[in-house]
C-alpha cells in the first residue's frame, strides 16, 4: 500500500514537472508550430484515454472514434443549437460516452467476445454511430456542424483569437488531468483489479475479483476520457463531421499514439503522440518542399502517407512494445 502511494507520488511529481516545462511552450513557439503542439496534446489525450481500455484493461478497441465522436458531437450540438458552453458539453459528452461504453462493453463481455472478435465489434459500433449520425438532419447530416465564431474571446465559451495561447493551455491542462487520472487509477485498488483481470481472468475471479465489472468500468472511464478530447477538438478546429468524428481513420489515430509509445504504460501514449504528430508534419513537409531526388513526384498527393506508412511498419516491426515500452523494458533489465 505504502509502496503504491510512493509510486503514485513520484509519478505525479514527474507529471507536475513536465507540465511546468510544457507550459512555457507558447513563449517560444508561435504560428503553425503551436498548432502542431495542440495536435500533439489532442493525440496524447485520446491515446491516454484509449490506453486505459486497450492497455491496462487489455481490451483492444478498434472503435474509439465512437467515444471521440460522442464527445465532439455532444459539445458541438449543445453549443450550435442551444448556445450551451462547451465546458458543460464536455461533461455531458463524457457521461454519454461512459454510458455508451458501459452498455456496449457489457454486451460484448456478456457474450464473451475476445481478441479479434471484440476488436471487430468495437469497430462495428463506431461505424454504426457514423452511419446513424450521417442520416440525422438535426445534426446537419453529412455536412457536419460548424462552431459559430464569436466577436469576443470567452473562457466560458472556450473561444479565443487564433493567436491566443489559451487553446494550448486548455489542451495541456486536459492532458495533465487525464494522465493524473491514469496514475491514480493504476496505483489504486481498482487499477490493480483491472490489470489482474487482464493478466488472468479466471485467477482473478477465483480471488473474488469480478472480471466483467472491472472491464466495464475500464471501458466507461476510457470512453469518458476520450470524449473530453473530442469536445476540445471541435473547439480548436471549429468544425466536425461524421467522418472526422466517427470514421475508422479516427479510431486508428486514437490507438496509434498508445501503440507506438507503448500500451499499458503511463507515459507511452504521450511519448507516442510526441513522435507521431511531428513525424506526420515532417513527411507532409517533404511533400510541400521536396528534395531534388524526389522532384519527379513533387506536387503529387500520397507521398507523405507512403512515407508515414513505411515508418509505421518499421516501428511496429523493430519496436513491438512501442518506443517508450521498449526503452523502459531495456532500462529495467
Amino acid at each position: 500500500m505504502r509502496a503504491r502511494l510512493a509510486e503514485a507520488q513520484s509519478q505525479l511529481l514527474v507529471l507536475a514537472a513536465m507540465a511546468a516545462i510544457l507550459a512555457t511552450v507558447p513563449l517560444w513557439l508561435h504560428g503553425s508550430g503551436r498548432t502542431v503542439a495542440i495536435r500533439v496534446l489532442i493525440s496524447a489525450g485520446v491515446g491516454v484515454g484509449w490506453n486505459v481500455m486497450g492497455g491496462f484493461a487489455g481490451q483492444f478497441s478498434f472503435g474509439h472514434a465512437a467515444y471521440f465522436g460522442i464527445g465532439a458531437y455532444t459539445g458541438a450540438y449543445l453549443l450550435v443549437s442551444h448556445g450551451i458552453s462547451p465546458w458543460i458539453g464536455m461533461v455531458v459528452g463524457a457521461v454519454l460516452a461512459a454510458g455508451f461504453g458501459a452498455l456496449t462493453g457489457w454486451l460484448s463481455f456478456r457474450y464473451r467476445l475476445r481478441g479479434a472478435y471484440f476488436a471487430l465489434a468495437t469497430f462495428a459500433f463506431a461505424e454504426m454511430l457514423r452511419l446513424v449520425v450521417q442520416a440525422q438532419g438535426w445534426l446537419n447530416a453529412t455536412q457536419g456542424l460548424q462552431v459559430p465564431v464569436r466577436p469576443e474571446s470567452s473562457w466560458w465559451m472556450m473561444q479565443f483569437s487564433t493567436t491566443s495561447p489559451n487553446y494550448y493551455f486548455i489542451g495541456l491542462a486536459l492532458v495533465v488531468v487525464l494522465v493524473a487520472i491514469t496514475i491514480l487509477l493504476v496505483t489504486s485498488r481498482r487499477g490493480m483489479f483491472i490489470v489482474a483481470v487482464r493478466e488472468d481472468e479466471e485467477g482473478a475471479a477465483a480471488a473474488g475479483v469480478d472480471g466483467t465489472a472491472n472491464k466495464v468500468a475500464a471501458v466507461a472511464l476510457s470512453g469518458a476520457m476520450t470524449a473530453v478530447m473530442g469536445t476540445f477538438f471541435v473547439q480548436v478546429f471549429f468544425f466536425i463531421d461524421p467522418e472526422l468524428a466517427f470514421g475508422p481513420a479516427e479510431s486508428v489515430a486514437i490507438l496509434l499514439p498508445a501503440v507506438i509509445g507503448g500500451t499499458g504504460t503511463i507515459w507511452g501514449p504521450v511519448v507516442g503522440a510526441l513522435i507521431l504528430i511531428p513525424l506526420g508534419e515532417w513527411t507532409a513537409g517533404i511533400v510541400r518542399d521536396p528534395p531534388a531526388f524526389l522532384d519527379a513526384v513533387a506536387g503529387r498527393s500520397g507521398l507523405d502517407l507512403v512515407l508515414f506508412a513505411i515508418l509505421l511498419i518499421l516501428i511496429l516491426l523493430f519496436l513491438p512494445k512501442g518506443v517508450y515500452g521498449s526503452l523502459a523494458h531495456r532500462w529495467r533489465r
Binding site: 471487430l120 454504426m128 509505421l312 511498419i313
Partner: protein, 341 residues
C-alpha cells in the same frame, strides 16, 4: 458449457431449426417496414425496382463471397485481421488495368496473369512483414496490415493519381446465342459483366474449396489452421504453408478484382468497400469456413440492396452492421460453425 448443452437439449425437444430465427427476423422487418414493402409490391415500377435490387444484390454477393473466402482463409489459418485485403484487391485491379490497356488483351484473360502476380506479392508480404509479427499482440498485427493498406492505397495515388479509370468490355452488349445482353428480366436490367463476375466467383470458389479439401497442400493448410504446433510435429512446414496461405488469399482477392473491374470505377480506394464487408461475411460464415463465406457473401449482398430499399435515406451499410453485431453476439461461431476452428 452447460448453457450450450442446455440449448442443445432444448433444441432437440422443440426441434426448431436454426434458420427459422432468420425467417422470424425477416418477417418482423417486413411488418415493421410495411409502408415501404407495400409501396414496392403495389406498383409495376416498384416491383421492377425490387427485382433489380434482388438481382443486383445476389450477383454482387457472389463476388463478396469470393473476396471474403480469401480473407477467411487468412483469418482462419494465420489468425490475422488483414486490413490490407481490400487494398490488395485494388492493386490487382490496377495491375489488370495496366495489362489490358498496354497490351490490348481482353481483361478477362488477365485472370490467368493477375492472380499469379498477386500470389507472389502476397507471399512476399507475409514473408517480410507479417511473419516477424506472428507472435505479437493483436494490435501490432492489425496495425501492420492497416499500415500496408495505407501504403498500397497511397502508392497507387502517387503513381496513378486520383483520376477515376474504367475498363469496359466491348462485347458486353451483344446478342450471344438466344440471349440479348444486357439481359432484360421483368423490367430489370442485368449487365453481362455482373453475371460473369457472379459465375466466375462461384467457379473460383468451388476450385478453392476442392483445393483445400482434396489436395495434400490443402490438407496441410487446414492442419496449420487447426493446430500449428500439431502440424509442425507431423512434419508440415508451417512457415512455408503460412506464406502460401497469405499468397492464395491475396490471389483470390485479385481474381475478384479482375472480375469486378469491368463494372466498377477504378480509384485507389475502390477496394476499401470490400474490406469491411468481407469481415462481416467472414464472421457470418464462420471463422475459416470457406464455404460459409460464399453463402455469407450472398446474404450480405442481398441485405445491402434490399436494406437500401426498406430503409430509404439510411446508408446501405447500416443493416449490414446490425446483422454483424447480432451474429457476433448470438452466433459468434458463424451461421454454419467454424471450418478451421
Amino acid at each position: 458449457m452447460s448453457r450450450t448443452e442446455a440449448t442443445q437439449t432444448l433444441r432437440t425437444r422443440l426441434d426448431i431449426p436454426r434458420w427459422s430465427w432468420g425467417v422470424v427476423v425477416a418477417v418482423l422487418v417486413v411488418v415493421w417496414r410495411w409502408a415501404e414493402v407495400s409501396e414496392l409490391a403495389a406498383s409495376g415500377p416498384g416491383r421492377t425496382i425490387a427485382l433489380q435490387a434482388l438481382l443486383t444484390g445476389l450477383l454482387i454477393g457472389g463476388v463478396y463471397g469470393l473476396v471474403a473466402m480469401g480473407l477467411s482463409l487468412i483469418f482462419g489459418v494465420l489468425e490475422i485481421i488483414n486490413f490490407a485485403h481490400g487494398a490488395f484487391l485494388t492493386l490487382a485491379m490496377y495491375v489488370t488495368w495496366l495489362i489490358a490497356t498496354t497490351t490490348g488483351i481482353d481483361p478477362y484473360l488477365t485472370l490467368l496473369i493477375t492472380p499469379v502476380i498477386m500470389f507472389v506479392v502476397g507471399a512476399a508480404v507475409q514473408r517480410v512483414v507479417i511473419s516477424p509479427a506472428m507472435g505479437q499482440p493483436l494490435e501490432n498485427q492489425l496495425l501492420l496490415t492497416f499500415a500496408l493498406a495505407i501504403l498500397i492505397e497511397n502508392a497507387l495515388l502517387l503513381v496513378f493519381a486520383a483520376n477515376p479509370r474504367s475498363v469496359r468490355i466491348p462485347w458486353a452488349s451483344a446478342a450471344i446465342g438466344p440471349l440479348d445482353f444486357p439481359l432484360r428480366l421483368g423490367g430489370a436490367i442485368i449487365e453481362l459483366p455482373r453475371i460473369l463476375a457472379f459465375l466466375g466467383g462461384l467457379v473460383i470458389a468451388g476450385g478453392l474449396f476442392a483445393f483445400l479439401n482434396r489436395t495434400r497442400t490443402g490438407t496441410a493448410i487446414r492442419a496449420v489452421g487447426l493446430n500449428p504446433t500439431g502440424a509442425a510435429l507431423v512434419g508440415v512446414p508451417v512457415g512455408r504453408i503460412q506464406v502460401m496461405t497469405f499468397g492464395i488469399g491475396t490471389a483470390v482477392a485479385a481474381a475478384a478484382g479482375v472480375l469486378v473491374l469491368p463494372f466498377l470505377t477504378l480509384e485507389p480506394t475502390t477496394g476499401a468497400q470490400f474490406n469491411i464487408l468481407s469481415f462481416v461475411i467472414v464472421v457470418l460464415g464462420g471463422l475459416g469456413n470457406v464455404g460459409g463465406a460464399l453463402v455469407g457473401g450472398l446474404l450480405i449482398g442481398l441485405t445491402q440492396e434490399l436494406g437500401g430499399l426498406l430503409f430509404p435515406g439510411q446508408s446501405k451499410l447500416l443493416p449490414v452492421f446490425i446483422i454483424f453485431i447480432a451474429t457476433l453476439f448470438l452466433k459468434p461461431e458463424g451461421l454454419f460453425g467454424g471450418g478451421a476452428e
